[in-house]
């Protein structure tokens, strides 16, 4: 009888001990999974609305993070693409602009002589796809164009917004 009680206590303590150790690990792993982001992106799981100060729903914060990462990842693939209609001559964005370099999205909109007007960054990307890459540009505001812009801006994170300036 005593042996059974002792065995039961040992079992209970083992299960409780394992739970004390494992549950926080599992919760933490889940949190890490939820909050895993590309380098340089926000890691917070809780966020206040910028204007109202209202604490945003955790799920909507997570959804926003996930969707942005999906777009950046799609943009990465498009940036390197040589086979889609966006590249008519085998030239990819990445060849002249590895890692989104010398794109300077922080300087747009600005006057572009080759377009002949003040152009947004998506209009400039459309020009690059049409002329140097001799391809068919995506529509302004399309998922693909937004993805390209997301990838480019993620690579240029930290630049100071300087509309219309000549980049240094």
């Amino acid at each position: 009888m005593n042996k059974k009680i002792t065995r039961g206590r040992v079992l209970f303590l083992a299960v409780a001990g394992a739970a004390v150790i494992l549950v926080p690990m599992l919760v933490n792993a889940q949190r890490q999974d939820d909050t895993q982001t590309l380098p340089g992106l926000a890691h917070e799981v809780q966020r206040k609305h910028a204007q109202s100060g209202e604490i945003l729903d955790r799920e909507s914060v997570m959804k926003g993070n996930r969707e942005l990462q999906v777009m950046i990842t799609l943009g990465d693939q498009l940036w390197h693409s040589r086979d889609l209609p966006m590249s008519g001559n085998g030239q990819a964005c990445n060849m002249c602009h590895a890692d989104g370099s010398v794109t300077h999205p922080e300087t747009y909109p600005k006057y572009k002589p080759q377009i002949g007007k003040v152009a947004t960054v998506q209009e400039m990307m459309g020009w690059c796809i049409s002329i140097p890459n001799q391809g068919k540009p995506f529509a302004l505001g399309s998922k693909e164009m937004n993805a390209l812009e997301a990838y480019m801006n993620w690579n240029n994170k930290g630049q100071v917004m300087e509309i219309g300036t000549m980049p240094q």
Binding site: M95, H97, C128
Partner: protein, 333 residues
Amino acid sequence: MDEKQDALDRLMTAELSRRNFLKMSAFAGIAASVGGVVTLDFLSPSSAQAAKPFNFALMADHHTMGPKNNYMKLRCERAVEEMNKLNPQPDFLMSLGDHVHDGSDEQMKFFDEIFAPVKTKIKYITGEHDWYLDMGESYHKHFGETTYSWDQHGVHFIAMNTVHLRDFWTARGLTAEERMGYAGTLNSPVGGPFHVGEKQLGWLRDDLKKVKKSTPIIIFSHSPLYYYYKPWNFWTEDAPEVHLLLEGYEQVQVIHGHVHHIVKNRIGNINFDSSLSLGWPHPYPTSGLPAGSPQMPRANPANIYGGLGWELNRVGEDGGVDMRYHEWSREKV
């Protein structure tokens, strides 16, 4: 910006040489980085001697893609036309690799046809884009060997394949096209850094045994034979072993392609200069530029010749090389 333009004006118009490099005081102001193992102790006179001064031409990184990319063809044709007008003709034309983009036999045939009218003799080395589709089979068929040396006018020339990559494809089960794609993507981390490799280091060790310390040496490589910027594979992992083999030689010049812009360096007794590209210009990386190196202004994407070109170089009596850049942004079409 004015400083950069001023430095570039001097770079393009003066014969930028080892001797007048330090006189370009603007370089100090435009250097983006002060890192790296660089010494600027190369004003001491060299006793190295070449038999007589001579010229050779350079071109690099054409990345021709066949008929689907007419811009690439136009740039190559312009280079051929300009080189054929040289009088006297250069002793030879060295092509520093990445002649084609996707490594195929068809693209190399296309390249050969464009460059067939060149009057002077063309010598070749391989870039990664020429190699990783069929591991050099088409390269050898069209361009010959990758590792060789010769003596001319008192200078010992060395050509090497510096784009060896560790086997990243077998374990991953990649197709030849996938292997080429990873190896040929500038900022892909999959391929890892370039290597000269043990076999070639052994060849170089043997080759140098017959070269006197006073003989000027000019080495052609595709990748920079030093550590420039690893994320874009402007990097040759075992370059320091090459530097060790070259210790004690009085006049050593390395000329490389791959970076698609002008960059200069000096490590110990070795000068490093890059060639312009005939394909497209690469921007400068955010770090790693050797101290004292000039920077080209950003190319205008609306000019299909912007930031591109080729070189006609002069080897002086001491075996030093004056790099003369024919950069097309500065010339009317």
